[in-house]
């Protein structure tokens, strides 16, 4: 967008008209995150309603799902949120090295989270017979349990993977010195998305594993 404004000789936007301090990219990301909230509402809402309608389909915490492993996995995601924020703080202080280091840590932690989740899927599907499709379902509880579990955690996992890819892209841009304390757009945007994904997991982990 900036190139357009320059091309047409447009003075910068008057801040008092715009949402003070919330520059366009950040506002766009916040608005996108609102639509993501509604997407997860649809999935989690269906899970809550189906569980309320047919409780016998669902097992109590720990019976089928491996809670300790996922608890550690959740801790990994929380750490990745912290490393993301440290990266952003480093950028604000102009510390390019720190930015790239913390971005790398976030990427590693994020990939670890997805790895553990895939491992958990394999465990559940192979040994427990806990699969999404109703006809093959064999674990404790009913086919609804597998369907809702895989759709919710699967889509969350997809969002984490997309987040990791975005972080890798931002890291490459950071290596080229694209970000400065004045132009911290890309990092803050990816940071907002990453924290949102962590926030969704906090709710998801509680509802799926602990209730």
């Amino acid at each position: 967008m900036e190139s357009h404004a320059a091309a047409v000789g447009l003075p910068g936007r008057q801040p008092e008209i715009a949402l003070e301090g919330v520059y366009t990219k950040k506002l766009g990301m916040w608005i996108f995150l609102l639509s993501e909230v509604m997407f997860f509402t649809s999935l989690i809402g269906a899970y809550v309603i189906l569980r309320f309608a047919n409780p016998e389909h669902f097992a109590s915490p720990g019976e089928v799902l491996n809670v300790p492993l996922t608890a550690i996995n959740t801790f990994v995601l929380i750490c990745s949120s912290v490393s993301m924020v440290k990266a952003f703080a480093a950028l604000q202080n102009g510390d390019q090295k720190g930015l790239q280091l913390w971005l790398l840590v976030t990427i590693v932690l994020g990939s670890a989270f997805v790895g553990v989740q895939i491992y958990e899927y394999i465990q559940l599907a192979a040994h427990e017979g806990f699969v999404p499709s109703a006809d093959l379902y064999a674990a404790h509880g009913g086919p609804l349990y597998g369907s809702t579990f895989y759709v919710m955690t699967g889509f969350h996992g997809t969002h984490v993977t997309l987040g990791v890819l975005a972080l890798i892209f931002v890291l490459m841009q950071a290596r080229k010195g694209a970000y400065t304390p004045q132009n911290l757009g890309g990092v803050e945007i990816v940071g907002l998305y990453w924290h949102f994904v962590d926030l969704v997991w906090i709710v998801l982990f509680t509802i799926v594993y602990l209730i």
């Binding site: 447009l10 766009g28 809402g45």
Partner: protein, 593 residues
């Protein structure tokens, strides 16, 4: 003020004509990020799907008017659809489903939100382009594959989806009940992709309106078209993801065999209806609110008079947006939903009639004591108001739950749908295309043929759809391949035949609009403000150059200051400095006249 020749770095020679067989070609596929080019691309795409939807409607009416008789030109269709031109029941269900799907998702919604959103928002808020131009381009180039997938679902084995555009489970949840497997999955995948396109577009619209308004353009100086598109973008942002989630669950039911909506393995069919209509009702307001915005623009312009009660019009749009989230149950009164919920939804649905009433009275107030120029956009706008009144009032019958018992899922509902969607949105779209044609192509559509098209369409439209209220009151159900199997409906064949013939005439009359649209691409060029309007898009040349504004426009007044006492002309551009305003505000040079 010399206007340098617009340095358009794109070479667009549209000779798109939607003749029936020929697909609209753009000679060069332009991966452009200019919101005006994207608006034109959306225009051609959705006009093409409007034609497709219209053809499907003609086939439906043929089967209802001449059941079981070979359709003229029907032998073109393969035997899986219409052996010897005689439409099969499964193809009829596919026709009903795909007519609604194409019209709602690929014609009316892109025409209102994709076309006018893209064209008007940056121009009316005084921005050079959308907040995220590349995302805006992605929004169009996601809609194209969605449309292709939907069209392809006709060609696959088993035919297109036949579960209704509402795809109620369990009929839609497994091909076992309809014999349509891949067709239903393509239907689901196509709408899922379209969801991305709509959300990408809406993020752009909301960010542009909030963050990129020209100085002086406060919220209450925004034209009502931009207000309507802004609120609609919010509805899309919050409603489409719900549909995306529901579609994904239904797609997994269809493919992997999950159990969300399949009752035999524990799923809940009512859950699909709740999720679908929780998206569905904001969706129908997505289809009408932009039309209301366009109607306000053309009615005010035609009457040469400010919109009556601008503030209450804005409040009414916001009222519709809020109430739109708590009424979805009125689609499900008979569906086995808890009757007590029915009563709550009945009350909220009754309340949502109030903002629509406010808008109608304000449109009438705008015309009152005006100096009405009956130009084509105004005619379509007045047509919109008169038909929207009927559509709104017929909604009250369905909101009253006991009356809904008799008329639910009958042709009364079909009449209501078409009075708000065809009489409402489509007439507003005709008004919008004619009104902003200069901003699309720099030329103007023929006024005489515009009026001829309006008069014929208005008359034939009412001849086709008003009798449907009577069919519905007699109890004739929707989506019946051959309603005359029921003895009590056998005597409705003559009326249905009459409606069908009237519809064929209505479809033919649309050729006038198509020709007017195509031939006017070559008509004489027009200046920046042929309709003598006030908002910012009329302060730039037609068609606006890349980047729209030579200098940052500064706004001093509201968009509807027509016939201002003391002004020499009966219109004043928003960029006209206010005489009484203190000099500091008039320092910046106004935009090109």
């Amino acid at each position: 003020m010399s206007v340098s020749a617009p340095t358009t770095d794109f070479d667009l020679l549209p000779f798109a004509g939607e003749h029936h067989e020929e697909l609209p070609f753009i000679r060069k596929y332009i991966f452009s990020t200019d919101h005006k080019v994207i608006a034109r691309q959306f225009l051609f795409l959705s006009l093409f799907f409007l034609v497709v939807g219209g053809l499907l409607a003609a086939m439906i009416r043929w089967q209802l008017g001449f059941p079981g008789q070979p359709m003229p030109g029907g032998d073109v269709l393969p035997d899986t659809m219409a052996p010897g031109g005689i439409i099969l029941p499964e193809f009829y269900n596919a026709l009903v489903t795909m007519h609604a799907t194409f019209m709602i998702f690929f014609a009316i919604m892109p025409l209102l939100v994709g076309v006018f959103g893209n064209l008007l928002i940056p121009l009316q808020v005084g921005a050079p382009d959308m907040a995220f131009p590349r995302l805006n381009m992605a929004s169009f180039w996601l809609a194209v594959p969605a449309g292709v997938l939907m069209l392809a679902s006709f060609a696959v084995e088993g035919g297109a989806s036949g579960a209704g555009w509402t795809a109620y489970a369990p009929l839609s949840a497994s091909g076992e009940w309809t014999g349509v497997y891949l067709g239903q999955q393509l239907w689901l995948a196509s709408l899922f992709i379209l969801g991305f396109s709509s959300i990408a577009g809406s993020v752009n619209y909301v960010t542009t309106v909030i963050n990129m308004r020209a100085p002086g353009l406060t919220w209450l100086r925004l034209p009502l078209a931009t207000w309507a598109l802004f609120i609609t973008a919010w509805l899309i942002l919050l409603a489409m993801p719900i549909l995306a989630g529901a579609l994904i669950m239904l797609l997994f039911d269809q493919t992997i065999g999950t159990a969300f909506f399949r009752p035999e393995v524990g799923g809940e069919p009512l859950l699909w209806q709740h999720l679908f209509w929780y998206f569905g009702h904001p969706e129908v307001y997505i289809l009408i609110v932009p039309a209301m915005g366009i109607a306000s623009e053309v009615v005010s312009n035609g009457s040469r008079k400010p919109v009556f009660g601008y503030h209450s019009m804005v409040l009414a749009i916001c009222g519709i947006a809020f109430l739109g989230w708590i009424v979805w149950g009125h689609h499900m009164f008979m569906s086995g939903m808890n009757p007590m919920l029915g009563t709550t939804f009945m009350v909220t649905t009754m309340l949502i009639a109030v903002p629509s009433a406010i808008k109608v009275f304000n449109w009438l107030g705008t015309m009152w004591k005006g100096n009405i120029h009956l130009h084509t956009p105004f005619l379509h706008g007045a047509g919109f108001v008169s038909l929207f009144i009927i559509g709104g009032l017929s909604g009250v019958f369905m909101a009253a739950t006991p009356v809904d018992i008799q008329i639910h899922d009958t042709y009364f509902i079909v009449a209501h749908i078409h009075y708000v969607l065809f009489g409402g949105s489509l007439l507003a779209i005709f008004a919008g295309i004619t009104f902003w044609y200069p901003k699309f192509f720099g030329r103007i559509m023929n006024e005489f043929w515009g009026k001829v098209h309006f008069v014929l369409t208005f008359i034939l439209y009412n001849v086709v759809f008003f009798p449907m209220h009577s069919l519905g009151v007699q109890g004739m159900m929707r989506r019946l391949y051959d309603p005359y199997q029921y003895e009590i409906f056998a005597d409705m064949l003559p009326l249905n035949r009459f409606i069908s013939i009237a519809l064929f005439a209505l479809v033919v009359v649309q050729v006038i609009f198509a020709l007017n649209f195509i031939l006017s691409l070559r008509s004489e060029k027009v200046g920046p403000n042929p309709w003598k309007a006030n908002s910012l898009e009329w302060a730039v040349p037609s068609p606006p150059p890349h980047g729209n504004f030579q200098h940052m426009p500064v706004v001093y007044r509201g968009p509807y200051e027509y016939s201002l006492p003391g002004a020499e002309e009966d219109y004043i551009l928003q960029t006209e400095p206010d005489e009484e305003a203190e000099p500091a505000e008039r320092s910046v040079e106004p935009a090109t006249r």
